[in-house]
């Protein structure tokens, strides 16, 4: 590493500084710097990708409810951002605490649905690995070995797709 890979350990230092500085700000700043409006923006881009995927197939899917949920989500993220700005402008510590708690707990709201069908380990309703890629398949295989109930289904990957 010191001769060929990273003389002076500059990449190592850079990555270490990035992680420690990020941890420092997240743990110690008066405000937890979470950007929730960006969450809405990114989800809208995922939605656009979903529509493009649907367009490229003959599958019909009603996305009205999803569209409405996204609009509601976008409104709410704007509201919490406004609350954050108000707390900072007024130097209102108790209000800042309220905002920080909302930010800290925000992501928990995505995991209250009991997990994905047949893959309940994956509980986040926005993000998941591909159904037969990498570590997802590995987990399915480990579970196949440990859980007798899983063995009543086909061995993951053996038939081209994991048990589903």
């Amino acid at each position: 590493m010191s001769t060929f890979g990273d003389p002076g350990f500059r990449f190592h230092t850079g990555m270490g500084q990035f992680l420690s500085l990020l941890a420092y700000h997240l743990a110690s700043d008066d405000l937890i710097h979470f950007d929730l409006p960006n969450y809405a923006k990114q989800m809208n881009s995922y939605y656009a990708t979903l529509l493009a995927t649907l367009d490229s197939t003959s599958t019909q899917l009603n996305t009205t409810e999803l569209r409405a949920a996204l609009a509601e989500f976008e409104t709410r993220t704007g509201e919490v951002k406004a609350l954050e700005k108000q707390a900072l402008a007024l130097g209102d510590r108790p209000l800042l605490e309220v905002v920080n708690r909302k930010y800290r707990d925000f992501q928990r709201g995505f995991v209250s649905q009991g997990g994905l069908p047949t893959r309940e380990f994956y509980q986040h309703v926005v993000f998941a690995p591909g159904i037969d890629t990498g570590a997802s398949l590995m987990r399915a295989r480990v579970r196949f070995g440990l859980d007798p109930r899983a063995r009543s289904r086909p061995f993951p990957g053996a038939l081209g797709r994991p048990a589903a």
């Binding site: 060929f4 003389p7 002076g8 890629t133 570590a135």
Partner: protein, 159 residues
Amino acid sequence: MLTDDSVLASWDAEEYGLLGSTEFVEEYIPWLTESAVAYLNIDVGTSGPRPGFAATPDLHTIAADVMKKVIFPRVGALTDKYPQARTTNQTLYDVWAEETKAEFGVLGSGSDYTAFLHRGISSVSAGGQHDAKARLITRRSIWEPTKASTTQCTITTRK
């Protein structure tokens, strides 16, 4: 007032199905649910000079801001094909933007953030990749120090 804490951890058995980190999450889930703010992951941290980041969208802005404060000069044997980088004091953000058009990856699975993300904890995963121009010297680095299948992380909490 929320009190803060940071936990540093190093996981075993990543390649075998994220076993170490998943066991940790299952053991400490009440504490994590109550107090975790973010999970910061580093996996294949410096196998090359091409920094890449994947994160939940709430962390994009703060992560990019922090990158702008870190000097990341691309010098040394790995970067002999990047002559323009040797004379400039680039930040991590500059290099990352050059490599990825300043786009964050989307987290799915594939490293030890998985169990945390899927219990509702905001996560970012950092890595440094090689390419044809910058040769692979070693896949793992001192950021994954003990075995070929460990990942390191920081868990930030406020309670």
